[in-house]
Symmetry: C2
Subunit: 417 residues, 2 copies
């Protein structure tokens, strides 16, 4: 089945044809028709104004579907009835090309605001979807049973259902803005992304006229409790947690970290805030294992639990660095974009102890009034290693911070226990 | 900050140099040193024997970390103490180049079996990590309180902790084998993957001598309950669920589908089977929204709930097809690979109603003795639309299947309700 003949008539990359792309994409323009839609269609290459294709990493499955003859190459989405179930913006940050650089602020309303392009046959897709849902979590039911959350018949039903507006957001990277966040030239960023992936997307090099990239990575989801329009009102109290995916805890309840317990505590705070006339927000980023991926994470677990002296808060970060070369690859520099998309300028209760998240948000111009640590009772015994190490490294706490001697005493379970 | 000068001295793609790669990669060879390790290092291009880099979609974050100066380009992982916490294989399927094509069977033990290459300075990485954990889920505690699960002091502790062996598996695609699964030539597959991603990885075209690709997609996790060595013993009863990610339900408990309830039921079945002397397995694939991604999924939710007549089992699949062009992109054809990696030849209780999963597993040569549907009491009211539509489309059930008229009567909640 393998055919080793060189395959002909394939264009390995594209080059600027000397004129601007058929459809403009002027990042930061306030008037949508001047801004222009994100056009990633493969059916009409002349109109493409980005590098890459839609759906983040799922673009590879789409390519497989087309290759396998399951999906027509020129399928055009029928977007009837798909428009946002709640309105977001436009907010002033949408027309600031430096404030939002990792998602398309017009991505949810593309079908509406760019209709004039659709009428000219331009095939573009929304990159954000906003819907409504009921969620039902056992820990919320437990909080109701314990009297910490009340049924109100609107936000919270007697069976534990909680009403939310939720959105899924696909990554859309404005490369000059991303580069600036990291203190790089656009050229250095583009070259780095190309070379250090082993040669992904040569258009990063050959199409300096295209400044927007749809990277094959996971995006984010967000959940709003209460009136979504209140998010942009700095006088309405807002409880917010920005959570980074941890499948092992978020889904399976692993006891080595505090991810699901803190997430659930954030949801409880959000519900309570909304019931008191405020609003709540959970942002969920697909950045498994500090964006190092789960293979690296599990390798580090083994190294932590097998090291001489056992798993210890004193060596917590060092073990990750041995395996991965860094402690963290989440790049919180890009994280505040979604908050600006929602029009947020002040967070009253920030349900996170992360100094990296806190500092990134504040640096981006959003005020944080109060930080809410995870209640001690929610920390699994084996997760104390992580918690003490993080507090010693600068995470927010109202309690004492362990010194080197004390950190060495905070021990986790053995691997085989 | 934008620099529009063409960037020079960049090699846009590589070409075969007329001799085989420095390190062989002979897929399906039974002797590891003849098989050779997966070498994706960028520090030593001459030894590379694959297209792409490690960590699936997280390779983009790695490229960002190197570009931003946070990670040295030539960082070599210190893999001390990271070896698997439980042994898997080798099993006969490991040396069958057609049986396993989407993961590297030697990926967990790479550090051990390929040591001779490391001694020659070859920089390779494991693509699978195996560790041990305790998990604690509220639904398991509920099952204990209801008397459906018992404390045994070993697998299940009084506080609800359940002991597992778990593994994370990174995608490693042997392109000739992938192509064969889909009835394509390798050339057609490679060209399709290149062109329908908008030009990702020209080496798919220019390096016909490289047959292995590390695609930037999510991988899978697996959880084993009981003795992992029993998985390969066809006489030890095995309960298994193959689950595809659904963040909205798995983490947040959305009531529009049965994902978390069925997953949790699967875990309960696995624990019970292990307590009765058998073994349990949950496989978790990162294939959000049938591998269409969450933006598409939420668009479909809106279209379903707003269509004339409201959300209905009769039009359930049609709405997805309108938006995405297909009903499903999960490609269960590749899914059984992980079961063969574990040495499984028989599943006694298969905790899934999916005909696609069942058929793919059976076609791959694994026997399935019994199929276990989700108990009716676990189906949220709003998820009945999905459940009845799936049963009518061929999903396994022991109960009645709705006809067209009955399907039209199965209605979900309005979007704003």
């Amino acid at each position: 089945m393998a055919d080793k003949k060189p395959v002909n008539h394939i264009r390995l990359t594209s080059h600027p044809d000397g004129q601007a792309p058929g459809v403009p994409l002027r990042w930061g323009e306030s008037e949508p028709l001047r801004r222009g839609p994100v056009v990633a269609t493969l059916s009409d290459p002349a109109n493409r104004n980005v590098i890459g294709t839609h759906s983040g990493a799922y673009s590879i499955y789409r390519a497989l579907a087309v290759s396998a003859g399951k999906l027509p190459q020129d399928h055009k989405a029928d977007l009837t009835n798909t428009s946002p179930a709640a309105q977001v913006g436009p907010h002033p940050a949408w027309s600031d090309p430096k404030r939002i650089v990792s998602l398309d602020p017009w991505g949810a309303v593309a079908s509406q605001v760019f209709r004039a392009y659709a009428e000219q046959g331009v095939d573009y897709r929304p990159t954000i979807a906003v819907t409504r849902a009921h969620i039902n979590m056992p820990e919320v039911r437990e909080a109701m049973a314990a009297g910490r959350l009340k049924v109100d018949g609107d936000l919270v039903a007697a069976n534990g259902d909680v009403k939310v507006v939720k959105a899924a957001v696909e990554p859309v990277w404005y490369l000059p803005g991303i580069a600036e966040r990291f203190g790089l030239t656009e050229g250095a960023l583009r070259r780095g992304l190309f070379e250090h992936t082993g040669g992904m997307y040569p258009e990063l090099i050959t199409r300096p006229d295209l400044h927007v990239f749809l990277p094959p990575i996971g995006g984010l989801s967000l959940y709003v409790f209460g009136n979504i329009n209140s998010l942009a009102d700095r006088d309405v109290p807002l409880a917010a947690r920005v959570h980074d995916e941890c499948n092992g805890s978020d889904v399976f309840g692993s006891d080595i970290c505090t991810c699901r317990p803190y997430l659930v505590h954030g949801i409880e705070e959000c519900v309570r805030m909304a019931q008191q006339g405020g609003v709540g927000l959970i942002v969920y980023h697909r950045k498994e294992g500090r964006a190092l991926g789960e293979v690296t994470k599990f390798l580090v677990y083994n190294a932590r639990k097998r090291q001489e002296g056992g798993d210890s808060a004193a060596t917590y970060f060092h073990r990750t660095e041995c395996v991965a070369g860094v402690q963290d690859m989440r790049f919180q520099e890009l994280m505040p974009d979604v908050l600006h998309w929602l029009g947020i300028t002040r967070i009253h209760r920030f349900i996170s102890m992360s100094d990296m998240k806190h500092d990134a948000i504040v640096r981006s111009g959003i005020e944080i009034l109060e930080r809410v640590p995870i209640p001690d009772g929610l920390i699994p015994a084996d997760a104390k290693v992580e918690m003490e190490a993080k507090k010693a490294a600068g995470y927010f706490t109202r309690g004492p911070v362990a010194d080197a001697g004390e950190l060495a005493q905070v021990k986790g379970r053995d691997l085989d226990a």
